[in-house]
């Protein structure tokens, strides 16, 4: 399995065949995303969740994403350090991924890797994002339940009213809650949540100390509640929307690979960029020309 994942991650020519074969082999897969700022304790919490899931007899997959350097293309993948408890269990499979240029908090092939884990019989798959700021939200479309992890220093208040990260949570965990200000942050998030019109799913805020395991069982129970909620709600609707997005992305990727990256287009791109630098064109007209060219190339093929 580890090698199948590598094919997918490296976009090997064998990958589409593997994914086609495995997609239908998944049985009631359930996916949980864990996101939040760097150092907020995502890995440690996931480690705890994995243990709790194991106690219930669930087989666990974990995909953890860390950033790729935009300068060298290298990466340090360090999430396993905090997952030593889960890592010792033979029914837990952990895979680290580098973002490889993707900017949405997960890698381009993270969902596909989760699919492979699901096809291998994992009942629940946790995806841990890179440490995020406010707008790396790809995780929302990749999972069923999103847990947003914050710390007392996150300074909720008006932050909680801002668009982005704070809107995608199904559950909040204020981690490192032994530090000063945790209760206040929890209160402030709750206050802001109360300003929104009532929703059928109640977003709750939990105080956790992942390192000591405090609060993690409550959050995990809430994750399972959300799973039940989605089942009762007939989540088909949200799933259809998610699959539509996925198909669109696959289409765009294909288009990029087979049309935009063709040598003729790359050459034109270079030529036009030079023109712009020399002051003989502007980016807006150039992009129109490029679009026409791309279109021509596409109809030819």
């Amino acid at each position: 399995m580890a090698q199948l994942i590598s094919y997918v991650e490296n976009e090997d020519p064998r990958a589409p065949g593997i994914l086609k074969a495995l997609y239908g082999a998944r049985k009631k897969p359930y996916r949980v995303g864990v996101t939040g700022p760097p150092g907020s304790g995502k890995s440690t919490l996931v480690d705890r969740f994995a243990l709790l899931a194991r106690e219930q007899g669930l087989k666990v997959g974990i995909v953890c994403v860390d950033p790729t350097s935009p300068f060298t293309g290298g990466a340090i993948l360090g999430d396993r350090i905090r997952m030593s408890k889960a890592a010792a269990d033979p029914h837990v499979f952990i895979r680290s991924m580098a973002t490889r240029g993707s900017l949405g908090g997960i890698a381009r092939t993270t969902e596909e890797v989760a699919e492979i884990l699901e096809a291998s019989g994992k009942d629940i798959v946790f995806i841990e994002t890179v440490g995020v700021g406010q707008s790396e939200l790809d995780i929302f479309d990749a999972v069923d339940t999103v847990v947003v992890v914050l710390v007392p220093e996150s300074g909720a208040g008006v932050q909680a009213m801002k668009a982005g990260l704070m809107e995608i949570a199904h559950i909040f965990a204020v981690n490192k809650a032994d530090r000063a200000g945790a209760g206040r942050v929890k209160q402030e998030i709750e206050d802001v949540l109360h300003l929104a019109p009532a929703q059928p799913w109640e977003i709750q805020v939990f105080l956790t100390q992942a390192f000591r395991g405090i609060g993690a069982p409550e959050v995990f129970a809430r994750i399972l509640d959300h799973r039940k909620f989605l089942e009762e709600q007939k989540r088909e609707n949200t799933r259809v929307i998610r699959i539509q997005k996925k198909l669109k992305n696959l289409l765009l990727e294909r288009f990029e690979k087979e049309v935009v990256k063709r040598p003729e287009i790359e050459a034109k791109l270079k030529e036009l960029s030079n023109k712009i630098i020399e002051g003989n064109a502007d980016p807006y007209s150039a992009s129109e020309i490029l679009f026409e060219e791309t279109w021509k190339e596409k109809s030819k093929s």
């Binding site: 490296n10 293309g73 290298g74 990466a75 340090i76 993948l77 350090i81």
Partner: protein, 134 residues
């Protein structure tokens, strides 16, 4: 399609001197490798499980406190037992010359001692995993 070289860097056994391992991990990152860093106090079992799940091409073991003749062979043994004897194992730390020979005989690919330039390790790994030119 891009193929990154993935390397697991691990501190094996009861040895907390992780400065060297971190320097190597960082240098490999800067050379474009994807480095899985698992921290200190790793058992051979943990290292082999991680290496297999992560499907790395190489493992770098760091050990400075004298138990390398027990721990390094254990890693090689477990990898073979699990059918991944193909994963390249290199090491670093305080390893006496006679021990190096024994470890090479058991299948360790290379041992880098104190004073090694990180560039030597990078060049070595690149030469091992260079993609055949199209």
């Amino acid at each position: 399609m891009e193929r990154k070289i993935k390397v697991l860097v691990a501190k094996i056994g009861l040895d907390g001197h992780d400065r060297g391992a971190k320097v190597v991990a960082r240098a490999l990152r800067d050379a474009g490798f994807e480095v899985i860093y698992t921290g200190i106090h790793q058992t051979p079992d943990m290292i082999v499980t991680a290496a297999i799940q992560e499907d790395v091409q190489a493992i770098g073991l760091s050990h400075l406190s004298g138990a390398h003749m027990t721990l390094f062979p254990k890693v090689l043994e477990l990898l073979k037992a699990k059918g991944r004897g193909d994963i390249l194992v290199i090491g670093g730390g305080i390893i006496p010359e006679p021990d190096k020979e024994k470890l090479y005989a058991l299948g360790m690919a290379k041992i880098f001692g104190p004073g090694t330039l990180t560039q030597e390790i990078i060049d070595y790994l690149n030469s091992k995993f260079a993609e055949p030119k199209k």
